[in-house]
Symmetry: C2
Subunit: 325 residues, 2 copies
């Protein structure tokens, strides 16, 4: 997760959500307690460090748009964010990451076994929170979303050190990220009084917003620095996860697929490659693609009546693509 800069931290769309997000954190902390001091403390640190809460913010806003009861919306928002947290616990274990958002990862403090089981526990609690909404369609959506997330992660694990084509890249980031953004929007529409056409519009909004968000993340990975992200620029590529900038770099003839992979075997060559790619404009080209998905997300909102909530949903989209280092 890329931190926002000082200005966008105070994004206006967040202002009206502070109370809801405060209740959300309480609900997440309550749900994730296992009655074991050390383990609970470690999990609470991770939850409290929790970034912008973009996903549940979408759930809260869409819930308002469709006049949903707050109680099931809070359960579903907490479910969405806890599911996200569970995937981070397992991801960080798999990647061997020591920190996330400046907080030690769980596996850096606990055994592999306890980390796997705690991730499983958070998945289970997320499922239990989703079930609290008392809606079969919402529960089905969550189960299907968890399936998509796992498929996206498995696809990523299987295609390390392979340059994906555009369809595979989109399939991977849809599973890894956009499916949960989609569920965050659709679940709230289902709980509220949305028509089928409006539910479909919310799916388009969430999906395209999620794709835009992940493409920005992947592009900014090349311009990040150790100081502000705790990881070196080009971190994904160093781990064999090849994203849009690398795909464009090859596609536009700067380097062959084979040469790219060969240079990644050498640490010095990787440093040079990251610098060359930053200078080539591929990051900017990728951000333009993110903008096009953001426009699709904004278009999806067009079938809905205007108003403050809709403006906020539009602002979330702008925020997601305007993040910079």
């Amino acid at each position: 997760m890329v931190a926002a800069n000082g200005t966008s931290t105070k994004a206006a769309w967040l202002d009206g959500l502070q109370d809801d997000l405060h209740l959300l954190e309480g609900k997440m902390l309550e749900a994730s307690s296992m009655g074991h001091e050390t383990l609970d403390g470690a999990v609470q640190m991770i939850i409290k460090a929790g970034g912008k809460r973009l996903r549940p913010a979408i759930t809260f806003l869409v819930g308002r748009l469709f006049r949903a009861n707050f109680s099931p919306i809070l359960s579903v928002g907490a479910s969405v964010e806890l599911l996200h947290t569970a995937t981070l616990v397992h991801d960080d274990l798999i990647d061997g990451a020591a920190e996330r958002r400046g907080v030690p990862t769980l596996h850096s403090k606990m055994s592999m076994g306890v980390t796997v089981l705690t991730g499983d526990f958070l998945f289970a609690k997320a499922a239990a929170l989703a079930a609290e909404a008392n809606s079969v369609p919402v529960v089905k959506l969550f189960a299907d979303t968890l399936v998509k997330i796992c498929q996206g992660e498995i696809l990523q694990a299987r295609t390390r050190w392979v340059l994906p084509d555009y369809d595979v890249y989109i399939e991977r980031i849809y599973g890894k990220t956009a499916a949960l953004f989609e569920a965050a929007a659709v679940s709230a529409a289902l709980i509220g009084d949305a028509t089928d056409a409006q539910v479909a519009a919310m799916a388009r909004y969430g999906r395209n917003l999620g794709l835009a968000f992940q493409i920005v993340d992947d592009a900014l990975d090349f311009v990040s620095t150790s100081e502000n992200l705790g990881k070196p620029a080009g971190n994904d590529m160093r781990q064999g996860i090849l994203n849009l900038p690398a795909m464009y770099y090859v596609e536009q003839g700067y380097i062959s697929d084979a040469d790219l992979l060969e240079r990644l075997e050498s640490k010095d060559e990787t440093e040079k490659l990251v610098r060359e790619m930053r200078a080539s404009g591929m990051v900017e080209q990728s951000l333009e693609v993110a903008q096009s998905y953001a426009r699709k997300a904004a278009d999806a909102l067009n079938i809905l009546p205007g108003g403050e909530v809709l403006k906020a949903l539009d602002a979330v989209t702008s925020y997601a693509v305007a993040r910079t280092i």
Copy 2:
């Protein structure tokens, strides 16, 4: 899982379930496919090796007892067994086990990352199958059961090399095993036309049967041999998981808590200890406790009208405690 001997493999209660269990395996294989040949092959081997299918057998029988539609019963049976499979995938990774039921474990063929993610995927598919029953109470039961399983596993991981008291031991094996037996019975009763009192009776049946089953497993661990189980006698104790026979051995003054743990630090002393414990009658005492839980399971069935299905449910109980090496 302890394999049954030749005679009980042909248990009569299984005869009427062969068609259902065949459909179950098909449903599980279909649900677990990820569209990746190597990974699917490894998961299919695990599913096909799948033991006695006791848990879904309970679901099928209780479903018949309460005249439930077969389609949701099949979904829930497959969900129960896939959830069980998912926990085995993560458990075997955590324990570093190379084989289960004569089949290589997933992590012995795949990376840690792919193994964690495949377990997650199977959890997700189990949730999706449970949701197919279109019942909010069934979905809530599943989410809560998954929470209990994780809590049981975390409790076990936290209390390695600690002699538990009886309550902690029962709490651990309830979470690890009996909660899913309970869910297997209750979900079918909820799908069928059971009254509240009958649902409660099914919970008692499943819970006590599951406790009896796990106590037998834990006791037989001391009399198993490498040849028939692929692991040495006293395997749990060697890994610091102390069960009823060890608890009784200390309680009845054969050894102090501290001496027991000290002797487990030496391989030779552990071999001797396992032999001494086998000769002490603690295994037999544990099996008597299992019998008392089996009687509670049988008692729970008493409020129900008799008939063939009830006889089969009773036979499942007898089978679960009569397993021998």
